[in-house]
Amino acid sequence: MKPTVFVVDDDAAVRDSLRMLLKSVGLPVEVFESGQEFLDADRDDRPGCLVLDIRMPGMSGLELQIKLNERHSILPIIFITGHGDVPMAVEAMQAGAVDFIQKPFRDQDLLDRINQALDKDAGSRRMLAERNMIRKRLESLTPREREVLDLVVAGKANKVIAGDLNLSQRTVEIHRARVMEKMEAHSLAHLVRMVLEVEREDE
């Protein structure tokens, strides 16, 4: 799915001018006039980024950001701020926004930020996809194979694992080979990195 730039701004002119600018550089764009409209459209799990006006009547930009965080959305947010909105911008950054830009802005500044955000989104999505893949591979392990994996990752030698699990060293070697195969690990280091990656995420 092609990444889309989502624009949420209550001001029709600002919204429309952004739509036209992004269209002129060939970026797919969708515009929304309120935070609620964007939430209702369920676009937050789509690839792309969100260009969000920080000040809006009703749900403010910051409140939409909080709602998206609650939904575990990873959509990168670029806030559009006015003069004197620096404290709000700081708050937005602390809540995970990738960037903010003060209006009126130079188009290239905005496009640069959008491109960075899209890159970040693509990276995040790749990482997410990888984690999902790792999880799937982990799920394909038998309970015994999982036990062997955990001890391998803990740095124990086959002989120690055999003793711990009350198995023969040969049996441990067979399980270990199956684990490497199912996890599609190139090396022991690769295997460890994959497991740590998922465990860090689960913490």
Partner: protein, 505 residues
């Protein structure tokens, strides 16, 4: 002898029947006759007085001087009192002194001479005179204090006209000068700007109107201007014919000047309050102007990019240019409304269309709302009649109420951050404007001080907003009050008298 006795009895009867006191004395002043009326008047019996000197009936210093008068007359025959009569003071038996009128006659051809005195008690008469004099003086004083003159005029010239002294003073007319006719008054006194109005009011009175009640200006001989409140009424005969006009003219110049000064002060304060409101809204307004500027910049940049593309779509560029135009006008409009709002200007009433009013107000009000993530909903009844008002002052009132509502709403959950601005026509036919919020509502102690100047619950704020708003609405003939808004928040309402006919712009 018999004839003498009979004439003596007749004389005595005459003496005692007279209402005036009669006293007969000889040339030395010794009393020979003392009539019944004299006995009543002085409190002496005839027996007590006959044979005594008449000067007993006089207070000092006349008592001591009286013998001298008699002697002088006896030798010079130059009279000071005989046949003349004059007001003198007399003394009763109990010592009280009273005014009386004395006429003295001399019995002819008698030597030594005898005199007859007729004495009339003037006490009551004097009292009445004094009372009249006093009440006239009091009236004059009162008129002077109140700066109010009165008059009575007989339009057909069939009675004496009267103009009080204060009236001469108010109009600066010399007391001794000739009377001023109505035509002269119109021409020489009434201010040219008011002349037609005054003439019309008099015409109504002449043609059977109940009362004349009018305020106008006059120009005095030295060019000074006075404000008068003139009330007049026709007094009719039984037949309905106008007998006379009675009227009062009240010099209200001082009051008018005080009112003018108070109004000017109020205007200055009102303007000051608008300025400080704008000061507080500066951040939001900068934002509001920034919006169209931002859109213009983005449209222009989009145009540049579109035009650089070999296969660019002309329609897109035209649309962007249209928008650039519209947004530039929008920015100008924000500035225009802002300037109108803060301009120090004459208060001017005109017919204001409610929808137009809300439209002009929307930009300023929404600015603040947006700044605080508050939603402003406008719920305007269609086809409301126009109101006669100063549009800027009305905007000031509504903006003030909206800003208060926003302040009350900050920090509330999102579903309560809505302010409704509502216009309705009330059952009484007035226009009612309501600003309703769902904020924290009024603190219990705050309500009673709400309209006091300098009362504020905010850390920044002049405390003038509501006080000024209320005085603006009162000056427009309306009311401003508040009610709770259901479970949360407050409603502020005000009314304005609507035009009798729908007279929109």
């Amino acid at each position: 002898m018999r004839g003498e006795a009979s004439s003596d009895r007749e004389f005595r009867a005459l003496l005692d029947a007279a209402v005036d006191a009669i006293v007969v004395i000889d040339h030395r002043g010794t009393i020979e006759e003392f009539s019944l009326a004299a006995q009543r008047m002085f409190g002496y019996t005839a027996e007590e007085m006959i044979g005594h000197n008449v000067n007993l009936l006089m207070p000092e210093p006349y008592r001591s001087e009286h013998d001298g008068y008699l002697e002088r007359y006896a030798t010079t025959r130059i009279t000071r009192i005989i046949g003349v009569g004059r007001e003198i003071l007399s003394r009763r038996k109990d010592g009280t002194v009273f005014p009386c009128e004395l006429a003295v006659g001399q019995v002819p051809d008698l030597e030594p001479p005898r005199y007859i005195g007729f004495i009339r008690d003037l006490t009551r008469h004097k009292e009445a005179e004094e009372q009249l004099r006093r009440s006239e003086a009091e009236l004059r004083l009162a008129q002077g204090l109140a700066n109010l003159g009165n008059y009575v005029v007989h339009p057909r010239g069939d009675g004496p006209d009267y103009f009080s002294v204060q009236l001469y003073r108010i109009l600066d007319v010399p007391l001794s000068g000739p009377d001023v006719t109505r035509e002269e008054f119109f021409e020489k006194w009434v201010h040219p700007a008011d002349r037609a109005r005054v003439a019309e009011a008099f015409q109504r009175l002449d043609s059977g109107g109940a009362q004349l009640d009018i305020e106008y200006q006059v120009v005095l001989r030295d060019g000074r201007i006075r404000y008068l409140h003139h009330i007049a009424q026709a007094v009719r005969e039984d037949g309905g014919r106008v007998l006379k006009h009675v009227g009062t003219i009240h010099d209200i110049t001082d009051r008018r000047h005080a009112e003018d000064e108070a109004r000017q002060l109020q205007d200055r304060l009102t303007h000051f309050s608008r300025l400080s409101t704008m000061g507080e809204m500066a951040a939001g307004l900068a934002h509001e102007i920034n919006q169209p500027l931002s859109a213009i910049a983005t449209y222009a940049q989009a145009c540049q990019r579109l035009l650089r593309r070999p296969e660019h779509d002309g329609a897109d560029v035209v649309e962007a240019l249209d928008q650039i135009n519209a947004q530039a006008l929008r920015a100008g409009e924000v500035i225009r409304r802002l300037r109108n709002f803060v301009k120090n200007r004459e208060v001017k009433r005109e017919w204001v269309n409610c929808e137009r009013l809300l439209d002009d107000l929307r930009t300023l009000a929404e600015t603040d709302a947006r700044l605080h993530s508050v939603h402003l909903r406008i719920d305007a009844q269609k086809d409301l009649p126009a109101v006669h008002a100063d549009p800027i002052q009305l905007q000031q009132v509504v903006l003030n109420l909206v800003r208060n509502a926003i302040d009350a709403t900050i920090g509330c959950p999102e579903d309560r951050r809505e302010i409704v601005l509502m216009t309705r026509r009330s059952a009484e036919g007035e226009i009612q404007i309501t600003v309703a919020d769902q904020g924290g509502g009024l603190a219990p102690g705050a309500a009673e001080h709400l309209f006091n100047p300098f009362f504020t619950t905010k850390s920044s704020g002049t405390g003038l907003g509501l006080a000024i708003s209320r005085s603006i609405i009162r000056a427009h003939g309306g009311r401003l009050w508040h009610t709770p808004n259901g479970q949360f928040g407050a409603c502020f309402h005000f009314t304005l008298p609507a035009s009798p006919a729908t007279k929109g712009e």
